[in-house]
Subunit: 147 residues, 2 copies
DNA sequence: GCTTTTTGGTTGACTTTGTCAACAATACGC
DNA sequence: GCGTATTGTTGACAAAGTCAACCAAAAAGC
């Protein structure tokens, strides 16, 4: 019932591997007007408009203080708006401005291009294998495994 | 020949997923005497004694300045030694002290426990599926795909 | 209802990380 | 040798992340 040493080692090895890969991928944001944290927020708000800072904190695991400041920055730069939240006057509903949507589109385009570049090195059979492997991992580690 | 939108989306989705997971995993170091950067260095030097700061910079993708300071910190805390490098008097060969090895052992134990905790939620068939998926991804993305 | 406790968010003070450029010492190419 | 590239250190910063205090609003307890 207990996992084997080899299984544990494989997991840790993979985590190191993917950490390094993510380090490379995140460089896409270095030459953009948005920081990494800002990019992640733009993405989340793009996916779910009218969410709150609380939601973002949960999903991105960010400190409230840092979040508040980063959101102020995004607002100051005209990419995001914070409007009163109907039903909870403490909270603010977050939404991208048109400029924010434009920026997000651009960031996504770069990200997709970069991934496309990686996938270009694989043939279609390999891509499908990769796709299945990623789906498997998400599936296996999703529900209760976050402890 | 070009990757499909679905393949690109899956890849990006997985990257977000694993970023979040790594965020949880890295918390193991928060309650330890070593910082995350220190931990990564301890691990690398543990795997390859007598390596140099240059090697670490390559493998961990860290700035030289930051690395130099972090190494000073590790030395100051008695976990690492920097001795003259035979054959290159600019470089220093890095090595864990006995205390450093002890700390590394402890950090590794925690990391393994944590991974074991995650794997405990899976039966053996699932663990083998996970193992295969991780091996697949590493295999597919390793050689030239890092661009 | 009124009080107490929680929650969402902001702010200030601070530490840690990361970045950039300058520099000294050494190694390397030719 | 001489110019160039490399290794590591340092200083000056900028950015990111942490912690605790605080206010206003909401939720819970009774």
């Amino acid at each position: 019932m207990a996992p084997t040493t080899a299984q544990i080692d494989r997991f840790r090895r993979f985590s190191r591997f993917y950490t390094a890969l993510l380090g490379l991928l995140d460089d896409r944001l270095l030459h953009s007007p948005a920081s990494l944290a800002q990019g992640r927020i733009l993405f989340e708000v793009g996916v779910e408009p009218d969410c709150t800072a609380r939601d973002l904190g949960r999903r991105l695991d960010m400190d409230r203080g840092q979040l508040s400041r980063t959101l102020s920055g995004l607002e100051r730069q005209g990419w995001l708006s914070r409007a009163p939240h109907p039903g909870d006057r403490r909270a603010r509903r977050l939404r991208l401005t048109p400029a924010g949507r434009l920026l997000l589109t651009e960031l996504e385009r770069r990200s997709r291009d970069q991934v496309a570049g990686i996938l270009a090195g694989l043939d279609n059979e390999q891509r499908e294998r990769l796709d299945r492997a990623m789906a498997d991992i998400e599936d296996l580690l999703s529900p209760p495994a976050a402890g």
